[in-house]
Amino acid sequence: MKFGIVTFPGSNCDYDAYHAVTDVLGEEATYLWHKDHDLAGADVVILPGGFSYGDYLRPGAIARFSPIMSEVIAHAKRGAPVLAICNGFQIACEAGLLPGVLLRNESLRFVSEPVRLRVENADTLFTNRYAMGEVLTMPVAHGDGRYTADGETLDRLEGEGQVVFRYVQGAGDTDVYWSPNGAMRAIAGIVSAQGNVMGLMPHPERAMDALLGSSDGVGVFESVLARVAA
């Protein structure tokens, strides 16, 4: 399976994603430049983390109009998988692929630390290798991660099982929701109504090896492989 990893000016997790796909999963990956007009045959698109266009105006607001994004939006509309991580999540929200928006952290501080996530839906394209309620550790590194949407949208996301990851407190408190950024309802990751686009603030591509702290992110990639290859 072929992964296309979009590089915007200011992306900085594109190589981590490339490493995760090629070295850890043993799958094929290619970089897609933001000015490209085709996806080079990619089955799965990754919008990686970083600070595209210096976060000017709002994170993701300008990247969303890059030429490659018309192709990414068409790919998503066809029901094909898009994994939007961190800045990618912000871009996907700005592009209308996912509802809501990521605002400045409540603390006004950049947070860079491992966090604990609870799997809230283990029957999605991106989470089927996890168990419902499983608690994972992945790093976050962002200044604008406070997921925000109106009450009606939040209720719909919860009702339809579109909330896939929530932040939880440390060991032993896995039922206590807590958020490093003030996200509404402790939301860390969601999927689109069709289920083929996932946006999340934590970095699964940086949690691929226990030697580096956690391999809990591997399941996200394996889940996609299991469903798309099937």
């Binding site: 605002l103 006004l108 406070r146 925000t148 109106d150 003030g182």
Partner: protein, 85 residues
Amino acid sequence: MSRFKVALHIVPRRGLLDPQGKAVADALHTLGFKAVEDVHVGKHIIVEITARSASDAEKDARAMCERLLANPVTEDFEIAAVSAT
């Protein structure tokens, strides 16, 4: 066609948590401006544009706000001034 300068204000929607505004309000309180009740921090954008008329320039600016300059989920915008340059 003439040139116009359009001044835009973009502010976080009332009722949404605005930690930046709160931090600035706290700082103002620390400086002794105890009467400050609330602060909202937004953006002031000036667009210089060629248009047939001031109302055309304003219409264009409104479309720019709706499509890019403001996020419809969390921000409100207003066109503060349109002036010929």
